[in-house]
């Protein structure tokens, strides 16, 4: 049976022009439908640039150096298999792949005053095969 090499990439960039007291969590998702084949994840990774800063504070207050990424593989009904970054080792094969959902997250913050600034970019990619 033919093997199809697939890729899914997602990037979020966020910049704020004023100081605020609350910065919401980042959640972004990308979805791709499959053909009920056997899926092997060959690589999954996440990277981050920038972060959250405090006004007149020298040290960045962002405590999430990489963000968090999950690949959810749905295999029918309520069944799913999750894969977490980083990994460049092929996963065990998973049968009956119907769809994949790449979830990208980064933390939100709250302060008692308008002192939070944000300039951050998160990117994630996954390479996988469907047979």
């Amino acid at each position: 049976m033919a093997t199809t090499e697939l890729m899914l990439q997602l990037e979020v960039e966020q910049q704020l022009s004023t100081d605020v007291s609350s910065i919401n969590e980042i959640l972004a998702e990308a979805v791709m439908f499959l053909n009920d084949g056997t899926v092997t994840v060959t690589e999954i990774a996440v990277q981050k640039l920038g972060g959250v800063f405090g006004n007149n504070i020298a040290i960045p207050i962002d405590d999430s150096p990489t963000g968090y990424v999950t690949l959810r593989l749905f295999t029918g009904g309520e069944n799913e298999v999750d894969f977490f970054a980083p990994s460049s080792v092929p996963s065990p094969p998973v049968q009956f792949g119907q769809a994949v959902l790449l979830e990208l997250r980064d933390a939100g913050f709250t302060a008692p005053q308008n002192v939070l600034q944000v300039a951050r970019r998160l990117g994630a990619h996954v390479y996988f095969q469907e047979t």
Binding site: L8, E11, Q15, S17, A28, E29, A30, G51, P112, Q117
Partner: protein
């Protein structure tokens, strides 16, 4: 003004979703805001809560107190505070552009 860019790459049928808040929280309380679509790829389809972006933006802007003229301008993507390629304020952290 909060500016966000969402990029997605994959097969031709790939789709992406980015939940956003319609309020910014400051020490003065919650400030209602509206999303504005400034740019999209030529082959991309973008919706706000399932609606065409200009229609959503026009309705939301009127809901939060913009004038009809302002709402129409913003619905056309005419924003002046953070154009797509503008740098952030110099006193702010900024991200290098690829």
């Amino acid at each position: 003004m909060l500016r966000e860019t969402l990029r997605v790459f994959g097969s031709q049928t790939v789709s992406a979703r980015r939940p956003i808040e319609l309020e910014l929280t400051t020490s003065n309380g919650k400030m209602p805001v509206s999303p504005v679509l400034v740019f999209r790829g030529e082959q991309q389809t973008v919706t706000f809560d399932g609606k065409e972006p200009a229609a959503f933006t026009r309705h939301r802007c009127k809901e939060i107190g913009c004038t009809d003229k302002e709402a129409e301008a913003v619905a056309r993507g005419e924003i002046h505070h953070l154009p797509r390629d503008a740098p952030t304020r110099s006193s702010f952290a900024s991200l290098a552009r690829p």
